[in-house]
Amino acid sequence: MNGVATTGMASGGSWLSRKGNLQALGVFLFVVAGSLWALAQDSRFVYMLVYVWFGLAYGMLLQYGRFCMASAVRDLFAVKVPRMAVGMMIAVALYAVVAAIVTLSGFSTFHPNALGWHIVVGAAIFGFGIVFTGGCASGSLYKAVEGNMNSMLVVLAISFSQAIVVSASGWWDALVPQSWVDAAAAQDMPAELSVTKGWFDIFTAGYIWGLKGTTTAEIFGMAESAAGIVWLNTFLTAILPVAVILVALYAFYYRKAYLRRSGKVAPTLRDEFAGIWAMCTASKNTALAGIGLGILAGLHMYVTGALREHYGIFNFGELLVAMGYTNGLSIQDTVFDPGYWYITTQEAQWGGWIMQKLGIDSMDSIFFGLDNGLPNPLLNAPGFMSIGIILGASVMALSRREFKWKAPTWETAFFAIVGGTLMGIGARLAMGCNIGAFFATVTNGDPSGWIFLFGMTLGAFVGVKVFTWWMDWSAARKGGECDL
């Protein structure tokens, strides 16, 4: 009985006679008009519009499937429900298959993440945070568009906490090991970056740069061969772990209830497969969103890769320079431009850009000054993907009449800000969030993403314990007031 009945709602009439649909159409036409305007300014803005339109599609699918990657790990411990974990695995499998095709065609934009302990630590902090914010970085974006002010606070907290973490310098600089400082000083870096000042700079130059990021095919020296890409990167690094995780989710979270419901006392192997299939299709919206997100995330790399080839560039910064926009570029004339779905870094740039306008300059940091730049948000390509997600989710939320202002209480606002700050810190330590450091990595043959998932799961486990304790404690404190 999964259908949703409607009571007391206006029905009938043409599709356009409904206010929500009209508003959704308005948002969509706004994106079309904005895109045409940008192209009229300079046809090379098509590079940025690719991010916008893929973002729009991601936003629509995220809202359609109520795709919440935070609940993928959280719900396993909080309520023992595997629904979203399954949805996420479906998306990983599809993305991996499309990514293999993109890599084989030579248009992959993927860069592996550095492999080290920082991933577990950062991911655990991130995973702890998401339990309190009620959504990951992408999830908070689409939930904010549903009118959830807690999620808006989360987005703000993620943006500013990251911008501060990557650029602030103070007594905490002394917390790094001397070997990192020495290693950072030994790097041949321009003095204006002051790489031995600022915790995150020392961490990056003294620790991260000493690590190696690689794909499984590269480890076996088969990065250039089709067999390496298909078997080692796609099958061994993505499909096989997904299959193992799906079987484990079925065995631990779904099997008992499924067999009881279907009245199977002595299940055959066929029954078990039917059970796994039932688990994967239990929530059709989520499964469909997983399939769509997986395929689009792969295609996104292809389109950006093809455009880079077309313009003969490696980074959007080169195109910005050619178009005459030189403000906010890094000292290498680059900007953040992953070429695939990414969330946290562009939010850090938003925070950093606003701080810069307020007089706090952070261009002496490696993160902004050397790598990602601090472009005007109107010229921030991945930033426009986030805006695309916001607009896409609003199209969907408006047409489904799911927009409603939801005000925070003091408690939820506190959780949103503290949780969002922890997510920001965790994402920077781990060099990405559940999208950039997990979803985009394991699907492209970089096993470091599984370490991120492990750390995030660990953090979510502790987060659920603390959250449950807090709920019990606050209920007991209020006594009979809420009868719990």
């Binding site: 009985m1 999964n2 259908g3 949703v4 009945a5 409607t6 009571t7 007391g8 709602m9 809202q63 499937g65 109520r66 919440c68 935070a70 609940s71 959280r74 719900d75 909080a78 309520v79 023992k80 429900v81 595997p82 629904r83 339990v131 914010t133 009620g134 959504g135 999830g139 939930k143 549903e146 959830n148 807690n150 979270y253 209830a257 009881r260 419901r261 239990a282 929530s283 919206n285 989520t286 799911e402 409603k404 202002w405 939801k406 005000a407 925070p408 209480t409 003091w410 939820t412 959780f415 949103a416 659920v464 959250f467 449950t468 709920m471 209020k478 007031e481 809420c482 009868d483 719990l484």
Partner: protein
């Protein structure tokens, strides 16, 4: 229970609390009349609070009794059929109302 509220109401602090005992007969679509013994008010709540409150309330009612959960968080609504399966409850219906959803679960034996 239907919130028609003004803008001002939206910004008022409104603690989320699990409902008191009640015995209300509701017409559950596709099922007919059912007696709801507890209503869990999760308006404005972020996950995982609605799920955890539901878990607690279900722990306090008897098998066969019906519990109502009032939600305005679409993501949480999506997850309730799966939650009901895990808990061995029957998910009777999800009803769309003004500004919220009402989910009816019957506790299993």
């Amino acid at each position: 229970m239907v919130r028609t509220g003004s803008w001002f109401d939206l910004f008022q602090e409104r603690p989320v609390a699990a409902g008191n005992w009640m015995f209300r007969t509701v017409d559950v679509p596709g099922l007919g009349n059912a007696v709801v013994v507890r209503s869990v008010d999760c308006l404005g709540a972020m996950c995982p609070r609605p799920q955890l409150l539901t878990l607690k309330v279900l722990g306090e009612v008897d098998p066969g009794e019906v519990v109502e959960i009032v939600l305005d968080n679409p993501t949480a609504v999506e997850g309730f059929p799966a939650l009901a399966e895990t808990l061995g409850c029957a998910h009777l219906a999800t009803v769309r109302d003004f500004g919220c959803w009402r989910i009816y679960l019957r506790k299993g034996s």
